[in-house]
Amino acid sequence: MFSKINELRESKIYKHFVSQPLAVGALIVITLLFLGAILAPVIAPQDPYAMEKLSLGDSLLPPIWMEGGKAPFILGTDVQGRDIFSTILYGSRTSFIVGISVVTISGIFGGAIGLFAGYFGGIFDSIVMRSADTVLSFSKTLIAMLLLGIFKHSSILLVILAIVISDWVQYARTIRGEVLSVKEEEYVLASKAIGGTHLRTIFKHVLPNAISPLLVVGAVDFGIAVMLEATLSFLGVGVPVTQPSLGMLISQGRNYLYAGKWWLIVFPGLTLMAIVFSLNLISDWLRDEIDPKVSNI
């Protein structure tokens, strides 16, 4: 047990990680936010979506450290007397669900397509890459907005699919580029030479050596998916109104901001930013770690 820990302490990746205080901070922040989202029903002082528990008497209370603030409403309340802190915990659940689902589905689907396109080449490769170029030249926000706006039916699953439909492309492109260089390596040629099947060569030799850049893409993409879901929900074409979401909280708080009730927007906004910023910091660190030569984008 202890030797394992010491081994980890000695490892390069650990040392590099600890030498990057920003990356460590980001990992701590994202872990805390994730735990908060998972444990929302346990730690939230109030179930903000149980209407009978809300009291209009608590409407639009400021955060607790300001005059007029009241326990247990740490970050204040909205117009219906909902505890902002609780709505944020519940809202960030949606962010994490969407982020994790989008990254997983796009990663597997796009990754597989890029892997096969790069390995086999030919017509399939051309078609995949041309359609990838096409999808990339249009805005993800626009595509998702059109899909959700046209069908007028909203659910968290539809939001995920509307994002995935244009999101898989970058995974496909990334892994394809990697595969193109890996497949010329001697160990891949050797695997083919000793009679290894294509499937064996792909999964045993090509994939393990081509997959690491996907981690970087995944971390950035996680943030983008979270931001996109918030944007769609803000515009009213995202998750249904009954589903708490950071974007929707900001949209609802917008009218009160003009009346000086800044806490309705600032706290959900900060949470959203903290999620995306931490993920970007982590991906930045991963990028340096995996391939220091790749330019920082």
Partner: protein
Amino acid sequence: MSSYIGRRILQGIVVLFLVSFIAFIIFQYLGDPVMTLAGRYATQAQREEVRQSLGLDKPFYVQYFNFLKNALQGNFGMSYVTRVPVLDLIAERLPASIELAFVAESFAVIVGVSLGVFVSANPKSIMSKFMMTGSLFGVSLPTFLVGILLIYIFSIKLGIMPSSGRGETITILNFWRSGLLTLDGWRHIILPAFTLGMFQMALLFRITRGAMLEVLSAEYIRTAWAKGLRGKMVLFKHALRNALIPVVTMIGLQFGQLIGFAIVTESIFQWPGAGNLLLNSLYESDFPVVATYVIIVALIVVLLNVIVDISYAFLNPKIRYK
């Protein structure tokens, strides 16, 4: 080079065909043109008449062909809501959107590229490290949040910037209502343009920096330093010119994204542009407007990509002489 550009143009045409097909589906099958034209209480016979006049009884490919023919003549039908030809509706809104995108993109390119060059020239300074983290923060801010906070600070708290609309406009050439010719118009465009351009700025900054660092480590740059050229000369004439290739590509690629963010920005600042129109048409299920908007956006994106590909060929001799 001509075969390279020819291939790109061909590819663009294929994309336009695909998009027009999607637009056709939205137009013909998602909306209910018969109901809208004949009215809710029309008899079966009246409906049939409208169906025939719209060509809805014809086979699928004939309908698609007619749709294309009409589209090429600039006839995209009427808006369900305002009963105005869709193309007029969008054409009226387009100048506002183009001006906003232009100001935002210019801001992003000028500031982003200059900062990128600065940081690559002084990679070790504290300012550079600060700007690198700052730019990461910049790409982490959702457009809508930036817009709202800017309105809160500059329009509500400080009261020095207008929060919505385009301000005073002047019509030039009989069709282009421009806000860039009046002081009031510029006052109105600053906040939305900053909101829209910030993400791009941060991105271009990071890309320029990355590309510059890569170029600066090349042999010919060392040669340039070694023969004693001035710093500015090396940086701008030798390095930046080569570093610009990925930057130009990214500007072209990102323009499509800009259109998406523009919809959000226009909605927040009540900017009377095409993006705002699209959003309202989506809310009201005004499908002819949505379909036409999709086609126009595709046209702009494809055209821009071809332009980027051509300028890419000019910047990069490897492609030019292939």
